[in-house]
């Protein structure tokens, strides 16, 4: 790895702790600042004695910064605290649900890319043809369908009416391949369509930008046939901005799994998040939010590094973002 790339990676890596620190402050602040701390919210359902006991169990009487430091220490020890409602360590609760969310987010991103690459390519290469118009209309529809509504429709058609796919997930999702596919097919489609619509649009406009560059005309003037120019120059160079968008989308997918898990009753992090929010179980909420933020930052970071590796100009020095 030549020196500029190492330099660039170091610069990007060092930015992470700064942003992570800010993220932790935001997460902590949002949970603890409003109305004297989280425990008040459970007041309705518990006697004063239990509240007092909960307050000192979670050190809520200490000044805020002490609580924050305690929380960081806890994090350092790898424990995310214990759930108020479920009385279980949060770490294990998350660990058991993580695979579902990750698999769902990952598979829908893959689906999105698989749809978007050909669709974007064709609609750019054959601009203003019927294929382009079709891809644009599909993209717009994909963008505007609320993913939970699409989920509901899928359940009605494939689950209820045709009965091909199970409506509610069984206990162990990853037992057999067939079983996993059956359970995850509809949610992945529900989540993936919006993302594929987005990526198609980005790839199309990125390719159109590259088409207008001088070096594409020079390539044709060198005698390279249009097909070769389209594939090895225009498509390849247009992929770079798409990478950033796909990485960000996977981050978005993490967020959207919350609703999809709700619609398809999948036992993932998202559902746990919704339940903990409704039950005001703040240690769980706090930890899940932190997890989502860190996952998002890692994705963002890999996107920037990929950007640097592929685009020699960035490596040469010059800000990535």
């Amino acid at each position: 790895m030549d020196s500029e790339l190492r330099n660039y990676v170091v610069r990007r890596t060092l930015q992470i702790p700064v942003v992570l620190f800010l993220v932790s402050v935001i997460v902590f602040g949002v949970i603890h600042l409003p109305r004297g701390g989280p425990v008040e919210l459970i007041a309705g359902r518990a006697t004063d004695a239990i509240i007092a006991d909960l307050r000192d169990q979670y050190h809520l009487n200490e000044p805020l910064y002490v609580q924050y430091v305690l929380w960081l220490e806890q994090l350092a020890r790898g424990s995310l605290g214990t759930s108020i409602i479920a009385r279980q360590p949060v770490t294990s609760m998350i660990a058991s649900r993580l695979p579902v969310t990750l698999f769902l987010a990952f598979s829908s991103s893959v689906l999105a890319v698989l749809i978007a690459i050909p669709a974007g390519y064709i609609s750019a290469v054959e601009q203003y043809s019927w294929k382009d118009h079709l891809a644009t209309i599909l993209a717009f529809v994909g963008l505007s369908i609320p993913n939970f509504f699409l989920g509901v429709l899928l359940i009605t058609v494939f689950g209820v009416k045709l009965g091909w796919l199970p409506i509610t997930a069984g206990s162990d999702l990853f037992s057999g391949l067939r079983q996993t596919v059956e359970v995850f097919l509809m949610p992945t489609i529900a989540l993936g369509t919006a993302m594929s619509a987005q990526t198609t649009r980005i790839l199309r406009s990125s390719m159109l930008d590259v088409f207008s560059e001088n070096y594409v005309q020079v390539a044709r003037a060198k005698g390279l046939p249009q097909k070769v120019v389209n594939r090895s120059i225009v498509f390849k160079n247009a992929l770079i901005p798409v990478i950033t968008v796909v990485a960000l989308q996977t981050g978005y997918a993490l967020g959207a799994t919350v609703i999809i898990e709700e619609v398809f009753a999948l036992p993932g992090l998202g559902r746990l998040m919704v339940r903990s929010v409704l039950q005001r179980d703040f240690p769980v909420v706090q930890s899940i939010v932190l997890f989502y933020a860190i996952a998002y930052l890692l994705l963002n970071f890999t996107a920037d590094i990929l950007y640097g590796v592929i685009d020699p100009r960035i490596r040469y020095g010059g800000e990535a973002t």
Binding site: V19, V30, I31, S144, N147, F149, V160, Q198, V277, Y296
Partner: protein, 305 residues
């Protein structure tokens, strides 16, 4: 919904000064002649009109149960049918539109009010420490997928439409800040800012007459697109039961309530869903048309079409 920031990342529109034919007069004409944009414009105008005059326009009371007519399929007197409580779905949609518009305007407005000045300041003061702090803060805020952030805020502030507005708005602030920041940076390099200084134009006039109008184009486009995602966001949150609480009519809630009756009376969820789609679709078309009209780079290939 953090959808906006993934769009914003790609929507980092480098503001290229419009060197192609453009006059305000033309801008409106262009907008209306664009088929899709014209239809969307009319649809949205209708929507706003009906939302404002909902009590007058809605044929029935949206919250009054009427059990004899529950699950009625779409008919002459109930064009969209009735729900499990026998309430007319069309009237509920008209009233629900109020919520959607309120959330949309509220969150986009708030996000612009906070995000744009921060972005402009960071851009104008660049390179400075303040700029780094602001932009790193935006990166941190951006790290939260919108729905997660919204859920957390609502869990603390309680479930209500206003809290949904604030929750969504906080998610959109970084998007606007980054576009404003990028636009200001690239504009500062333009020579006409220096030429304004050379003829003695004071700084505040430079910002108001030079920076803002030229940075407006990408911000307006972003506003229409974010508006669409705010509506999706609100529907999502109420679908999770965290947004508007029954009986207030909200498109998300209506879809949720119809979820269990899909096999027999699908229209309970279908029509609210289609309404959301129509709103978001027309906002997207409007946003696209605005982008073409305001950013003349695309205009040339569109005109030759």
């Amino acid at each position: 919904m953090s959808f906006a920031n993934s769009l914003e990342k790609s929507g980092d529109v480098v503001v290229r000064l419009p060197f192609v034919e453009r006059r305000h007069l033309r801008l409106v004409r262009e907008l209306l002649t664009e088929r899709k944009a014209a239809v969307s414009f009319v649809f949205l105008a209708l929507l706003v009109f009906s939302a404002v005059f909902a009590p007058v326009i809605a044929p029935y009371d949206p919250t009054e149960p009427n059990y004899e007519e529950s699950y009625a399929s779409p008919s002459v007197d109930h064009p969209f049918g009735t729900d499990s409580f026998g309430r007319d779905i069309l009237s509920r949609i008209i009233f629900a539109a109020r919520i959607s518009l309120y959330v949309g305007l509220g969150s986009v407005g708030f996000a612009m009010l906070v995000g744009i000045p921060m972005g402009l300041f960071a851009g104008y003061a660049s390179p400075s420490r303040a700029e780094t702090v602001i932009m790193r803060l935006m990166d941190a805020l951006l790290a939260f997928p919108g729905i997660v952030l919204a859920l957390t805020l609502v869990s603390i502030l309680g479930s209500s439409v206003t809290n949904v507005v604030i929750a969504l708005a906080v998610g959109y602030v970084p998007g606007f800040a980054r576009i404003a920041h990028g636009a200001t940076l690239s504009l500062k390099e333009e020579e006409f800012i220096m030429s304004a200084k050379a003829v003695g134009t004071p700084t505040r006039t430079i910002v108001s007459r030079y920076l803002l109008p030229n940075a407006a184009a990408p911000l307006i486009v972003q506003a229409t697109l974010v508006f669409a995602f705010a509506i999706l966001g609100e529907a999502g949150l109420s679908f999770l039961g965290v947004g508007a609480q029954p009986p207030t009519p909200s498109l998300g809630l209506m879809i949720l309530s119809g979820k269990d009756y899909l096999s027999q009376s699908i229209w309970i969820s279908l029509f609210p869903g289609l309404t959301i789609m129509a709103i978001v679709l027309s906002l997207n078309f409007l946003g696209d048309a605005l982008r073409d009209v305001l950013d003349p780079k695309q205009e040339t290939d569109r005109r030759i079409q």
